[in-house]
Point group: C2
């Protein structure tokens, strides 16, 4: 073919990216495993890893004693400090910035409490941009920032990181990505993602479901978000606004009012406000601590707390049932405040599943809590920061190093 | 790379497949358009189309007067009779078999009414296998059957076409694909798919949403099925059992009983039985004709028929709302009996959308009825029949010609 040369170069970049993705996700992976996963022979893999090692992105070590006969396959590991990504998280109660190394290790972090409402774009950007500048300044001089990712609790326009709709902070059409990029002054674009989408990616890459190609991640804070991995890829829909699990209409009759203006949405029926209200503790408790307190009360025999959890669990079960029937996933992961809540509501969720999920899908699904705990969304933002590097390693490194 | 030669051959097969897919879907497409879509130069495209023409799969014609200056780009069209696929449809009230040419044209068909219940595997296979043998026998001697696809109203195991669960015929774990393959005696495997999944593929390839990469197809017969295209691919889930839209729990309180054993499922609330029941016509009307009659009654002023449609439309709206919030699709297509029903229920569906769908997703979505009408599922089965050819044209043709 006339385009054979260009095609060859493209295939090589793609293969370099695939090797680096495996190394980044697994932490340490042998050449033999890489060859098997990628369907390439070991000499081709050796050429690829040598090129990545020469660029300072990976190192190769002799593995510890394997107990097997024969020449051991060299283990390829990420160089965690040659390149880094900046990751930011605008969560319900805090602002976080981190410098993250290849392989996903948090090298350094900054964190601040934030008010739960009435925080505008300038306030958030000012804090995060300062964090980012400090983090970049503290990196060693020969290291390279390869990308910036940010997690936000709202609906995000893919193209430019515009927050289209973020009811918890009252944001509509706020240019978060652009403003944060300007504030950082690194000359890099900021990739912004919805917190639950990013949580799903993080749990898929290095959390509760590594390699589980069909999984659902449910993220609770004040509301409920969803991130759905379909065939190994995030479901984002036509404009990037998919997975709005929290606005599934579960109670069509006399539902609780929702921040979106509707009633009976899943997040209205299972959110923090509903739980504290049903438990009769809305005046004294608040936030994640409040949720943990209600779960503890129920465990110690408080009847009203137990009934509140059952009621919440029943509605959460309706949502989970519908997701399993629609997506036939292998795994459903509960993160954020749903992680705290899960233990207390699991019996009712399972009861709904037993009653309403079709048997063939019921047999194949497992429920779990987030493995990355409170860092799930930050870890997802780091994945965004690394996405260019993991697609075209050498091109990206060259572009960022100038 | 050591595997450069094999890689080159693989790329060529992939490119041949991609050219053939465009020609098959579009019916006629110029070399210039192919070059643009595939990002290849025109001489590469010419080489590919020449190879497909030599194999008898496409022909190239000079287009009609274009009105433009310059050399016209040759138009590539499918040869509809060199190869064919056999497509079968086990629909709610009929059995269909067809010989379908490349490009999707039905060359010949056989159809039989079937009873709505109490039909077992042997009965269905006997009729369809006879259709298939007759259709194959009537093909010209130099033509080649490249594949067999079948649509079934139930949950299908991908690997072997086993009907895991087909409540409308009362089938559980019936080896439909294997038995039909044996009955045909062509030495070809039978690919079986769920009717709504296949309907979605057909509408995406050549129906109401050609090229719309995020669309939802809702198929009504006695129940309601769904086929969901996410990023240009069918959502099938971990075991192939995804998209069970009909068993979305929309009425968690006092829902109507469903064939699946649960209550309040979407298909129970919007199905034929519910409609005829609410309209007070359950004793006199049945099937698609019954549904059309209720829509006609409502249009002519029958209050009870109008109220029945409103009630059905309201529940259907709940289901559609949840799908739009979850999938952020560009298009929702109503097929099967929902096509007949759509006109009568659209106001209520739109009302639910206006109330409950998040604005950013609401703006981007359009509702439509199936463009392929009663042949949607059969057309989807034909796509299954052609799938091997459209992946590796020359290899598949060689394998089937021996």
């Amino acid at each position: 073919m006339a385009s054979g040369m260009a095609e060859g170069a493209r295939i090589r970049q793609r293969n370099l990216g695939e090797v680096l993705r495996h190394v980044h996700a697994d932490g340490a992976v042998s050449r033999a495993v890489l060859a098997r996963r990628m369907g390439l022979n070991r000499s081709t893999i050796m050429g690829l890893t040598a090129e990545l090692a020469a660029a300072g992105l990976v190192r190769e070590n002799i593995p510890r004693e394997t107990g097997r006969a024969g020449r051991p396959s060299l283990v390829v590991m990420p160089e965690p400090e040659r390149v880094y990504g900046l990751a930011f998280d605008v969560a319900v109660d805090r602002l976080v910035g981190a410098r993250v190394g290849l392989g996903g290790r948090v090298l350094e972090r900054r964190e601040a409490v934030r008010a739960r409402a009435g925080v505008d774009l300038e306030d958030v950007v000012e804090v995060l941009a300062r964090f980012g500048r400090e983090l970049a300044a503290s990196a060693a001089p020969d290291t390279v920032c390869v990308g910036v990712g940010a997690s936000y609790c709202g609906m995000i326009r893919r193209a430019d990181g515009m927050v289209r709709y973020g009811p918890q902070l009252g944001w509509v059409d706020q240019a978060f990505g652009a403003e944060l990029g300007a504030g950082l002054g690194l000359g890099l674009p900021v990739e912004v993602g919805n917190e639950a989408h990013l949580g799903a990616i993080a749990e898929y890459v290095r959390g509760a479901g590594p390699g589980v190609r069909n999984l659902i991640y449910l993220h609770g804070d004040v509301g409920v978000g969803g991130g759905i991995i379909v065939g190994g890829k995030l479901l984002d829909g036509d404009g990037g606004y998919g997975c709005e699990v929290g606005h599934m209409l579960v109670n069509p009759f006399d539902g609780r009012p929702c921040l979106c203006g509707s009633r009976g949405c899943l997040e209205a029926e299972v959110g923090e406000e509903a739980l504290l209200d049903y438990a009769g503790r809305a005046d004294e408790l608040v936030g994640r601590d409040g949720i943990r307190a209600v779960v503890a009360l129920a465990e110690s025999g408080d009847v009203r707390a137990r009934e509140a959890l059952d009621r919440i669990g029943d509605w959460l079960g309706v949502g989970v049932v519908n997701l399993i029937n629609l997506f036939n996933p292998a795994l459903v992961i509960f993160g954020g405040m749903l992680r705290d809540l899960f233990h207390g509501v699991a019996p009712r969720v399972h009861a709904r599943i037993d009653t309403h999920v079709l048997p063939v899908s019921r047999k194949g699904v497992r429920l779990a809590v987030s493995a990355l705990a409170d860092d799930t969304t930050l870890a997802g933002a780091a994945e965004l920061a690394f996405s260019a590097l993991l697609t075209s390693p050498l091109d990206t490194l060259a572009a960022r190093s100038t």
